[in-house]
Structures are given as structure tokens and as C-alpha cells.
Symmetry: C2
Subunit: 415 residues, 2 copies
């Protein structure tokens, strides 16, 4: 008998039939002798509907009210899933973020979890109920409803699992695991049996779309075993685990390749080459709660340089506005934005002990005729910004170059 947290995303609960299917799967886990806590997202499409509704009222809705509105999505799902479970003869109870006590900071729309009170969940479990928790939402110090940002339900699931000391956190989604690349783009992509937290973190931050980054950070920090599985088929999935638990560590250099089309590029032209400019720029962006991803600054000519960085599409207008407001302050010339980019990355902890990975990746892109606009590297990742239209072709080229579609021992020989 274990204590399992399961998370189901929007696609898995998008209508009554799917909600009943989720209920049946939850019930199977419970009937196998486990205590079960379920975290759910809003029904697929509902968050977008609510955003459209808000836009009909005003193009720039206040963030506190946006959270108040969006939080209704998950609240509906938890009620419906509890109904489905009760109709199957078991006892279940739904809890909102407020009722669970998911305490966050007050950054509406992008709140971070500060802590979770385990008491109410534990009490309901002790009384024999399946507990359904609303993902994505929390409450700040002043009882205001907050949301964690897109994909925040993954983080809710892991944070709840940590708070109640669960044995496992299972993330059910519309894919059956983590692949070497997005299988919708790369036909030869292969499902991974295991991936380390760090690799998953890089894949997630690259928009691999399977898990939200913060959820992986939480899982890594607290050593919570995480598993990505399909809500529709009964397949093994991918286990996200400690690096030490990876059996094939020696054999594999690159775990996977990813493409991210959700970022936009901002370039500030004619930045004077003096101390404090970058600090000023990025602290101002941070004050406006704009998450910056890649940052690239090249060597300067005549005491001036260009500085580029990427932000989420939704933040581009705000980022450009912020940059314009401090152009004079930092003595720069102008600022430009570009939506039409894609970020191609390769990830693998084995990269640490292998040379020439970057060169091999750039060669693959060159052979495919893809021009590189920006480059950024970390210990276990190499990313390149390319034109959006070349994105899919670039991903395929990189995946092929590292033979990611083939089994691990062959990959080793190639690199």
C-alpha cells in the first residue's frame, strides 16, 4: 500500500467521458490498495475561453482579477471528477487551492508556492476519501486567489506530493512519456525509459511541453520520484529520477533534442560598453516580472555592443515597452523585437565528459542550410536560435546527427 499523487492535464479531463475515464483509472489505483490524491487542470480549452471572455471586457485585465477568473477552471474540474468517483461508489472530496492551503507569494499569474498545509488532505485521506485537488492555483497572505502560470498544475502535484510525503508523483498527459524529440515533428523519435532531473529540467525549460520546469525543480530538490505516463493508454511511461539511478549514464551523451517556438527575441542596439548596463536592464525587466531566458552579448566595437535576449511571446510587448523606457537611461540607441524564432537544443548529462558536441550540432544545422542567430550553452545543454520557419527542419537534422532514434549503445559509438 502506497500514497500516490496523480496529476491529469486539461486534455485528459476535457469532457464528461474523459473525466469518467480518469475516475476509472484513479479507482484502479485506489483498488490496488493505495491512498490517492488527484491533482487536475481546467478542462482543455477552458482557460483560453476565459481569457477570450476577459479580453472582451478589456485588453489588459488586472492580474488579480484574471487569477480570480481562471481559478474557476480547475474548480469545475475537481467538482466534476469528485462527482464521477462518487457515482462509481467510492468516496471522494474536492478541494480548491484555498481549501488545501496552497500558500503562494502575491505575484498574480506567476505565483510561486511557499508552502502547503498537509492537514486537510491528510484528514480526508484518513477518513478514507480520494482527495481531488485543484491544480494551478493557490492563495496569498491576504486570502487573494493566485495562479501559478501555465502548466502550474504539474508544480501543484509535485508540491502536494512532497507536502504529504507521497511515495510517487505520476503525471498523466496526452503523451506516453518523454521522447528524444517531439514525435509529432521527428518521426524517428524514441521514448526514454528514464531521464535525470537535470536533463528533464533542461528539456522542460526548452518547451518540450511534457512537464513544467518548476515541478521538476521541486522533484529534484525534495527527491520526489516523478513519472510521466499516458492518460489514454496503459503504458510504462518515463521515470524522472536522480542522476545516480540512471543505468546508462556512461553510454549516452545526448538524451534528447527539443524545439521551443514560444519565445521571442529582443535586441537592444548600440549599448555602451560600461559596467552596470546589463544589471540595470535585467533588474528592470525582473521588477516587471518578465522572465528572460537566453541572454547573449557579443564583443563590442567602438565601446558599443548589441545585446539580445529571449522572452515568452506573451511578454514581448511588455519587454519592448520596458526596454524603451530605459533606453536613454542606459544610453542605448534602439530596441527591436522578433516573434519569428525557434530555439533548438540538445540536452544530456553525458555532455560533461564529451567534447565536440557543440561543433557537431552546428555542423548539422549548417548541412541542413539553417542559419544560427544566437547561441547559448550550459553544462548539459546547447541551444541555438534559428528562424522560426527553419525550426522543424533544424530539429530533425540535430536528432539525426546524434542518432537519437536508435538504441543507446549505438549512439555511444557515433559520438
Amino acid at each position: 500500500m502506497g500514497l500516490i499523487v496523480q496529476k491529469y492535464g486539461g486534455t485528459s479531463v476535457k469532457d464528461a467521458e474523459r473525466i469518467k475515464a480518469v475516475a476509472r483509472r484513479v479507482l484502479r489505483t485506489r483498488n490496488a490498495g493505495n491512498q490517492v490524491v488527484v491533482v487536475v487542470s481546467a478542462r482543455g480549452g477552458m482557460t483560453d475561453e476565459l481569457i477570450t471572455l476577459a479580453q472582451e471586457i478589456t485588453p489588459r485585465p488586472p492580474e488579480r482579477e484574471m487569477d480570480m477568473l481562471l481559478a474557476t477552471g480547475e474548480q469545475q474540474t475537481i467538482a466534476l471528477l469528485a462527482m464521477a468517483l462518487e457515482s462509481m461508489g467510492t468516496t471522494a472530496v474536492s478541494l480548491t487551492g484555498v481549501q488545501v492551503g496552497i500558500l503562494t507569494d502575491n505575484v498574480h499569474g506567476k505565483a510561486r508556492i511557499r508552502g502547503i498545509k498537509p492537514d486537510r488532505i491528510r484528514q480526508e485521506l484518513d477518513e478514507g476519501r480520494i482527495v481531488i485537488v485543484a491544480g494551478f492555483q493557490g492563495v496569498d497572505d491576504h486570502d487573494n486567489i493566485t495562479t501559478l502560470g501555465r502548466g502550474g498544475s504539474d508544480t501543484t502535484a509535485v508540491a502536494v506530493a512532497v507536502a504529504i510525503e507521497a511515495d510517487m508523483c505520476e503525471i498523466y498527459t496526452d503523451v506516453d512519456g518523454v521522447y528524444t524529440a517531439d514525435p509529432r515533428i521527428v518521426a524517428t523519435a524514441r521514448k526514454l525509459g528514464r531521464i535525470s532531473h537535470d536533463e528533464m529540467l533542461e528539456m522542460a525549460s526548452l518547451g518540450a511541453g511534457v512537464l513544467q520546469s518548476r515541478s521538476v525543480e521541486f522533484a529534484k530538490k525534495y527527491g520526489m520520484p516523478l513519472c510521466v505516463r499516458s492518460s489514454f493508454e496503459d503504458l510504462p511511461g518515463t521515470v524522472v529520477c536522480e542522476e545516480s539511478e540512471m543505468e546508462d549514464m556512461e553510454g549516452v551523451t545526448i538524451r534528447g533534442a527539443a524545439i521551443n517556438k514560444s519565445e521571442a527575441k529582443v535586441t537592444i542596439i548600440g549599448v555602451p560598453d560600461r559596467p552596470g548596463v546589463a544589471a540595470k536592464l535585467f533588474s528592470t525587466l525582473a521588477e516587471h516580472h518578465i522572465n528572460v531566458d537566453m541572454i547573449v552579448q557579443n564583443v563590442s566595437h567602438e565601446q558599443h555592443t548589441d545585446m539580445s535576449f529571449t522572452v515568452g511571446h506573451a511578454d514581448l510587448d511588455k519587454a519592448l515597452e520596458v526596454c524603451r523606457s530605459i533606453l536613454d537611461d542606459i544610453g542605448a540607441e534602439s530596441v527591436e523585437g522578433d516573434h519569428s524564432i525557434a530555439k533548438i537544443s540538445v540536452v544530456g548529462v553525458g555532455m560533461r565528459s564529451h567534447f565536440g558536441i557543440a561543433a557537431a550540432m552546428f555542423q548539422a544545422l549548417a548541412d541542413a542550410g539553417v542559419n544560427i542567430q544566437m547561441i547559448s550553452t550550459s553544462e548539459i545543454k546547447i541551444s541555438a536560435i534559428v528562424p522560426a520557419d527553419d525550426g522543424d527542419k533544424a530539429l530533425q537534422a540535430v536528432h539525426d546527427a546524434f542518432n537519437l532514434g536508435e538504441c543507446p549503445d549505438i549512439v555511444e559509438e557515433m559520438t
Copy 2:
């Protein structure tokens, strides 16, 4: 400068355009120098959509989860209205029933308000904000979300007005006041300038559809002035006030006539004529939270009698089930249910000092060829159950008989 509570129903906030129109009206009241608290319902049609969704999951959803689901309706409206107000340059804040602290008992679906904490609303008002409160919902002792039943937003509005000691509670709706009869059925119906709490209470309980009964009870109990107005036109409306404030008290016998098609009739046949039977029956129904309206028992024949009562349509199946379960216990023969009834009533505090009103009403129904199934009277009301198909004709006949469409001093002469 005053402190005004305004309540807007589902039709008034059914889409973005109407929500903006409500925001403009709220702003006018605020700009006239008032502090304003707004109570809103779910967007028109939304509650029904959510009920349909729940029915797709299970025909008998648990009531706690139903409340969890339905409470999202008002939560969406408060967020949208706050957005609309902020987009017009004012500051506003939305609060759920939980955030306000609308404390109720734990009878899900029909909860009663036990108290309201005025602190958060007062604090937000003191900070210069317009406060938007979710109607219809509250929270029980264990942090569970409850709902007050259909029309509960009226009760929320009056209860909030009482809690914060408002100067006036205005109920905005799709009619522009209280009429002598439903103007959609009786073309000659006339709008009333004033009506006493007791008369309004009887009209409300009869399904006049303008105000929920409990809201009027609250207003009467705490002496809160209540006004029913149109959300769409800028017209005076009807003031619900203390009986002593009615100027025309002496002159008018019947204030209005009402029809209620939302009830069903239950008849228990062959009830033994012994003490305790009625007590057993109605206490059992109360335990199942079934509200009984009219109760009629006639003289008995051979120690047995028939007993009839009415309940809301939605409760008929449950009421029949409860009755069947105690048939043996009380020694009765059988039980029958009938959906096809209408209740016709006339209401007026002047009835107390006038004779022959009942006779005049029955004569009017007889002249119209309408058969009476049940009769029940109170101090200021006479009700008759008639076949549903004869309902509109019966209402018209009664309205005509008491000349309700004409101005009060003429009515006096007629009675």
C-alpha cells in the same frame, strides 16, 4: 454621500456588453459620491450549463460537489465586473463568498446565512475601492463552499447590506419593479411604487420571480430599505418598505395577484385520523431538506382522510420517495404526485380589514370556468391550486375581478 449595495442578476451580466453596462451604472452611483458594494449572480444561462455538465457525469451529483461546481459561476462574474470597472479608470476588487466571510450552515444547495464578517468589505471600501461580491455562495464551518439556492444572490445582497450597515439595497433585474401581476401574462398589470415587506414576501413566495423570499425576510427583520429597479432603463422602480411607510394603506385591499408554476402537488391517500401522523410526515420531509409550501387536510371520513401538500418541482421525486418510505409507518394507503398545477394567489395587507375577498376570488375563478383543487389562506394572502393549463386564464380573471390594473383610489371603490 451614502453606502449603497447594488445587486445585478444573471440576465443583467450575461455577456461582456451587459457587464460593461453594469459597470457604467455602478460608476455613476459611485461618482454621485457614494461608496458602492455590488453583488452579482452567475452569467445568465451559466448555472444551467453547469447543471447539464454535472448531469453528463452522474444523474445524482453529490450536493457538496454541486456547490463547488456552481460557485464558479459567480466567481467568474465578479472577476469580469472588476475588470470592467478597472478598465474605466476606477479601482475595484472582487471577493468570493469565502473571502468576504459569508458564513452559512452546511445544507449544501440550500444553505442559510448565519453571519457575514464586515471587515474585509469595510477595509476595501476604506481604501477607496468598489467592492464586488459573489452572490449565492458562502462557506460552512469546515471551509466547504455552500450555495444558497436559486435566487440566493438577493439574500446575499440584503445580508451584506445589513452587515455593513448600508443605507439602501438596490436589486437590479430584468423587470423595472413589482407589478400587480406578471405583465407577460396580464397585459393590464400596473407597476407599484411601494409595497410592504409582508406583501412582497407573499408575492416572492408565490413565485412572482422578482425577489427571493429570504432576502425580503432579512430586509424586514433588519429594517433594510430595498428597491427593485431595471438594469436596462433608468426608471424609478418599486420600494419595499415598512408597512407604516405605505401612504395608501387604507385605500387598497389587494396589492397584487401572482401565479406560481414551479410547484407540484403530492397527495397521500387513506391517512388514518390519529394524532402524530402529520408531525411524522412533515418532520421526515424536513429531515430530507424538502421545503413544503401549501398543506391541506380535509375532514375525515371513516377515520381516514387525504392529505395534500405542494413542493418545488425539483423536489417532487424525492418527496414521493420519502412519503413511500413511511407509508406503512403512518398506516396510509398510497401516494400520488402531480406536476401539472399552478398556484394563483392574491396578496394585500388591506385584506385584514376587508371581508369577502376569498369569496370574490373564488367567484372570479368559477366565472372563468377554472376548477379549484386546493385552497389555503393566510392573513394577507389567499391561494388556490388550479390545473396548470388554466393558470394564465385564472390569473387574468383574478386581476380583472379586483381591478388591479387601475389606479388605487378606483380599486378602493370596487372592493
